[in-house]
């Protein structure tokens, strides 16, 4: 199996030393009921390498104070580490300017920021917002709330049986009332990589801004927001080997400046009196209150770690894992893969005939294999495929071929129990 796949990817397989990388992740040494942990729930949250853990400890041990406030040593150290993290994130997604990188608590928070800051200011009654069937609830519900408040309308791009967006239908949804597009870069439920660059170009030709939910893309492929030309790009730290409670909203400076603040409070103001408050410049306008400083710095360390490995090498290795798992599962009777798009990232959603996904999850757990079971916060996708739920294996660069095999063996044992 390995040899065959190496032949498909001759330029990288030997250079990618997964065992060396695994050693960077203390949690991967865990045993679950005596069995080695096979962690295949990376789309829900990834694990943290020692380098990031160490950075958090160093910050908390010798650098912590509140930022942007006092003139003392620690405050200056913390502020400069926090702003350095912002620049690391800027470079990681190739944003033009560091002020275009806003720290949020995660993707959900970032999307809500755009809904409140942009949507509530610029979207009016009768306007239309285009979303897709693939969206995570976090890129549906905020827009429904806005549509209800404003009397706006949501139009939805359908998908085909492979889980790919129907781009012709997308283009036909545009009319003179279209004001906004929200689309995910990579589907968390199916793994589909959407042609966002093409979709953005089409929207821009009609003067419509586009928000890309990049939560599942940033950990798995090289993202260049200038190349995509997206107006907004949202992602989370904890899916990117960083801490929870931190995420990023990238926005084009001109748009961010035109937007109204989302949360009011300290740090987001220039001056405050009871007569008039002047808001701070971006990005601070959108970072009210004390941010999760340690988490932001930890995320900076995480993207350093990932950049050192190289996002292209990561994407290639994960693609090998996905190809091998897909190939083996396709040959298994009674196993159905949901999401067979031509362009996929390392997500494998599947069902086993006659076995409910929750039973699959519990039985795989008995083998030490951690997968997600449920609707993946993407109920419209489940409805499209007429299933209540699926099991989902999602890979990271630190997963090995042996773990793919453990998944396959696990699925066989589930089928045996229910035979």
């Amino acid at each position: 199996m390995n040899a065959v796949l190496t032949a498909f990817h001759p330029r990288l397989a030997p250079a990618f030393d997964v065992e060396r990388l695994r050693a960077d992740f203390p949690i991967l040494q865990l045993k679950i009921d005596g069995k080695p942990l096979v962690y295949l729930d990376n789309a829900a949250s990834s694990q943290m390498p020692q380098a990031v853990i160490d950075r958090l400890v160093r910050y908390q041990t010798s650098e912590h104070a509140n930022i942007n406030r006092a003139v003392h040593y620690l405050s200056e150290t913390a502020t400069s580490a926090y702003e350095a993290a912002r620049r690391k994130l800027q470079h990681f997604i190739h944003a033009r300017e560091e002020r275009e990188v806003i720290f949020t608590s995660g993707t959900t928070d970032a999307i809500n920021l755009v809904m409140h800051g942009y949507g509530r200011k610029f979207i009016k009654a009768g306007d239309e917002i285009i979303l897709t069937t693939l969206e995570h609830h976090s890129n549906i519900v905020p827009w429904q709330m806005l549509a209800e408040e404003k009397g706006a309308k949501i139009r939805v791009v359908p998908i085909n049986d492979a889980g790919e967006l129907l781009i012709d239908d997308y283009e036909h949804l545009f009319n003179e009332r279209t004001r906004f597009v929200g689309v995910m870069h990579v589907s968390n439920a199916l793994g589909t990589v959407n042609p966002v660059k093409q979709m953005i170009a089409f929207a821009h030709a009609r003067g419509v801004p586009v928000l890309v939910d990049g939560a599942q893309a940033v950990p798995h492929l090289r993202v260049d927001v200038q190349d995509l030309d997206c107006d907004f790009y949202a992602f989370s730290g904890h899916k990117l080997c960083g801490p929870t409670g931190i995420g990023v909203l990238y926005g084009k400076a001109a748009l961010l400046e035109a937007m109204q603040p989302f949360k009011g409070g300290g740090d987001m103001i220039m001056s405050v009196s009871f007569e008039k408050t002047t808001y701070n410049t971006i990005p601070h306008k959108f970072e009210a209150g004390t941010p999760p400083i340690a988490a932001a710095i930890g995320l900076g360390a995480a993207v350093d770690y990932l950049s050192a490995i190289g996002m292209d090498a990561i994407a290639d290795h994960e693609h090998e894992l996905l190809s091998s798992a897909t190939e083996q599962m396709t040959r298994m009777p009674g196993v159905r893969i949901l999401g067979t798009a031509a362009n996929k990232a390392a997500v494998l959603s599947f069902t086993i005939d006659g076995v409910h996904p929750h039973d699959v999850g519990t039985l795989l757990n008995q083998e030490g294999v951690a997968v997600r079971t449920g609707h993946h916060c993407a109920q419209p996708v489940m409805q499209r495929f007429k299933v209540p739920a699926t099991s989902r294996a999602s890979f990271a660069f630190y997963n090995s071929m042996a773990e793919v095999d453990a998944l396959i063996t696990g699925i066989r044992s589930v089928q045996k129990v229910f035979a």
Binding site: V355, H356, P357, D359, T362, G374, H375, P388, A389, V417
Partner: protein, 166 residues
């Protein structure tokens, strides 16, 4: 620990594969549908309450159907077997005992009506699966409290009726 491994044992797998009292019940006096919004599972329970010669309310017939995982389906199947022919009072006691067992609060050594249902004891070690095992029992409780035109509005939903102390 590791007790939960026993969950997927013969008796549960058998009830999952060949659920007893599966289907609909003609002229049911009581009925309720239970939902597990987290996983989309749903189960409906219909039953006939009758007065026995001593004027005690008894479960004369019971049936269930729905879509769910093996734990839930087997739990529903074994529940119908356990309560069929029992008095409503005994069935309500059993509901409370089952809920207590699933959450690790029942002393199985003290007198109880659990019997063969003890195969579900291991679910207490799987907090995310407890809801699967108890859904049928909540639904049975809701059915006991159902009225002919049971509302699906949350405030009046029989699914939200309090169940003892469990």
């Amino acid at each position: 620990m590791a007790d939960y491994r026993a969950l997927y044992q013969e008796v549960i797998l058998d009830h999952n594969k060949k659920p007893r009292n599966y289907g609909t019940l003609e002229n049911a006096s009581h009925h309720a549908v239970g939902h597990n919004p987290l996983c989309g599972d749903h189960i409906s329970v219909a039953l006939n309450l009758k007065l026995d010669p001593e004027r005690v309310e008894c479960i004369d017939g019971i049936a269930f159907q729905g879509e769910s995982c093996a734990i839930c389906k087997a739990s529903a199947s074994m529940m119908t077997v356990a309560v069929k022919g029992k008095s409503r009072t005994d069935a309500e006691t059993l509901i409370q005992e089952f809920l207590a067992m699933a959450t690790g609060k029942l002393d199985l050594d003290s007198p109880n009506l659990i019997g063969r249902l003890a195969v579900f004891a291991g679910v207490r070690d799987l907090p995310t699966r407890v809801k699967c095992a108890i859904l049928p029992w909540h639904t049975l409780h809701a059915a006991f409290n159902s009225v002919a035109t049971a509302s699906t509005e949350a405030a009046q939903d029989p699914m939200h009726a309090p169940i003892g102390n469990a």
